[in-house]
């Protein structure tokens, strides 16, 4: 019975927000509903089941909309809704928390590029950024390395771990600006789990924003004092951090990152400043 009911609930609503007349396997939905739901003198079995079906879709669609406001801005409300429905049919929530609803969205967009159409590249960029935002919001923060830890180990032997809430992204569009603007517009507050019924804001007609010009951007998405920040990085700084993340020693990471860098630049003071800033943010911690 639970499988049967879940099968009905996880079937998307019609464009008008009603339960579909046919189940995914072609059966008449009215007959499916009548097989296990009692009618009363005001509502048919179909209508009673429809209340739950609507609640499910309002809840999960709103959850994705809250978590990916930038993607919604890039695709427009109508296209975002179609993408969300297709995604949720293929990837219904597999976690007790709505926080993880969008975990597979990037992979889905890669596997099924038709949902983003010609905006596939920017859609992927903004999806990665917005998932990194979720991770930054509540992933753990480990005790950061102290300056003594750095002084105790020479750079050619020092390997560090980056904070679990820190993500490094290389993107082809200025999606940090898009995401910030979209979050401000949506008042960006993540919904809380509760047992109340929710309602959709029904804003599916929001048009897509104009496509910005391509721009290679390197980003660190992290948490500082309980706020999530998108910090732009120089390409060389990004290369050092990704090498450190992947297990290189500090010396090797710097050497690799600067191998093809502009020889006219005096990198030493820059390196000193970068490492100082990253240490202040507490990005480095001890490897397991």
């Amino acid at each position: 019975m639970q499988r049967e009911m879940a099968g009905v609930l996880f079937t998307p609503l019609t464009r008008g927000g009603d339960m579909r007349r046919r189940a995914a396997d072609g059966r008449v939905m009215r007959e499916v509903a009548e097989s296990f739901i009692k009618p009363n003198d005001r509502l048919t079995s179909f209508e009673r089941l429809e209340i739950y079906s609507r609640q499910y879709w309002y809840r999960v669609l709103e959850g994705l909309q809250e978590d990916f406001p930038g993607l919604r801005a890039v695709l427009g409300g109508a296209r975002f809704l179609k993408l969300s429905e297709a995604y949720l049919v293929k990837h219904p929530s597999s976690s007790f928390t709505m926080r993880n609803l969008g975990r597979a969205l990037e992979g889905f967009l890669r596997a099924e590029p038709r949902w983003a159409g010609r905006r596939q590249a920017i859609a992927l960029d903004v999806t990665r950024l917005e998932w990194a935002h979720i991770e930054a919001f509540d992933n753990t923060a480990l005790p950061p390395l102290t300056s003594d830890d750095f002084l105790d180990t020479p750079p050619h032997r020092l390997r560090v771990r980056l904070q679990p809430h820190l993500s490094l992204l290389e993107v082809s569009y200025p999606v940090d600006e898009i995401a910030v603007a979209a979050r401000q517009e949506d008042d960006g507050q993540r919904g809380e789990a509760s047992n109340a019924v929710e309602a959709s804001d029904g804003e599916t007609d929001r048009p897509a924003i104009p496509l910005p010009p391509r721009e290679r951007v390197h980003l660190a998405v992290h948490r500082s004092e309980n706020s999530v920040f998108y910090k732009r990085l120089d390409p060389e700084a990004y290369a050092i951090l990704t090498a450190l993340r992947d297990g290189a020693t500090v010396a090797v990471a710097c050497e690799r990152a600067l191998r093809k860098a502009d020889p006219k630049v005096d990198w030493a003071p820059l390196l000193q400043r970068w490492f100082g800033t990253w240490s202040q943010f507490g990005w480095f911690c001890r490897r397991k």
Binding site: Q2, A6, F96, Q189, S194, N226
Partner: protein
């Protein structure tokens, strides 16, 4: 009767749900609140603001955990990952009891994030009770199960909801979080007398009561938690605490949340009813003492 094994032998008064829009007010002004109920899932995370706020609240207030996704009525057994995370939080909060709903909500690892009614059968009661026992044994904390609002009934059901609830809590030997608003909503949606429900549950097992607002539509009522408590629900509350005694009571307000003071003032209206029960209990105690 109200301080019982199902609420960790506590005697809590009126609490409210801890919600994001009130964080600043609570942390800065430190209002007097008997206790806060938290939604466990909002704090089953590894770090960040949710846990920092929770720790600050725990320094000042008593906190009770309420869950929305344990799904005792699932045909599947409880998820180990969920239980592990929940136990970590239980250790953090020191919650004297923990509540979740008498419902199902996920199947084969896919989650509806909704509180779906269980068919009221003996087989379902047995399965549900097994799940409750497993959760309680793992978490090592008393459990209260909450009756949900529902909008559908199953052909398969062969008992009333209150008979089913009673069967489950007896089999699991657990407590009840009696949601009088949910009883009202379901009574209107399924045409039963809500006082029959209240009279039919084992009162000695009630560890906590929920009150809330709801929304009326033409053909059914939805449990929206976005209004003050309506008069018919206060009447049910009055009836409930006359039978259950002074019981920890919590107002749920989850959507269109007004100011902290407005929510708290609404919750404190319950004191008028609890006061009468307290007075009657004191009178009875005094009479006993005089006789002794």
């Amino acid at each position: 009767m109200p301080a019982n094994s199902f609420n960790g032998f506590t005697r809590y008064g009126i609490g409210i749900g801890l919600r994001v829009p009130h964080y600043r007010h609570i942390l800065e002004r430190k209002p007097v609140v008997d206790w806060f109920e938290i939604i466990s899932e909002n704090f089953m995370v590894d770090g960040g603001r949710p846990l920092e706020v929770l720790d600050a609240i725990l320094e000042q207030y008593r906190v009770v955990q309420h869950g929305v996704s344990m799904y005792f009525g699932n045909a599947d057994r409880p998820s180990r990952e969920h239980l592990k995370r929940l136990k970590t939080l239980v250790k953090r909060t020191g919650t004297p009891w923990l509540s979740d709903h008498l419902c199902w909500g996920s199947v084969d690892g896919s989650y509806s994030h909704d509180l779906l009614p269980v068919p009221y059968t003996f087989a379902a009661a047995k399965r549900t009770a097994q799940n409750i026992r497993e959760v309680r044994d793992y978490l090592e904390v008393p459990i209260c199960v909450e009756n949900v609002s529902s909008y559908a009934e199953y052909h398969a059901s062969n008992m009333t909801e209150w008979e089913f609830l009673s069967e489950v809590v007896e089999l699991a030997d657990c407590g009840i979080l009696l949601d009088v608003n949910n009883i009202y909503v379901s009574s209107r949606n399924h045409d039963f007398n809500p006082f029959d429900y209240l009279n039919g549950v084992p009162h000695h097992r009630v560890g906590q009561i929920h009150i809330a607002g709801h929304t009326k539509f033409e053909r059914y009522i939805l449990d929206t938690h976005d209004h003050p408590v309506l008069d018919p629900v206060w009447k049910l509350y009055d009836h409930a605490i006359r039978h259950c005694g002074h019981t920890a009571t919590l107002l749920e307000w989850d959507a269109h949340i007004p100011s902290f003071n407005e929510v708290h003032d609404e919750a404190l209206k319950a004191n008028a009813y609890i006061g009468e029960v307290d007075a009657a209990e004191q009178e009875a105690d005094a009479a006993l003492a005089a006789r002794a």
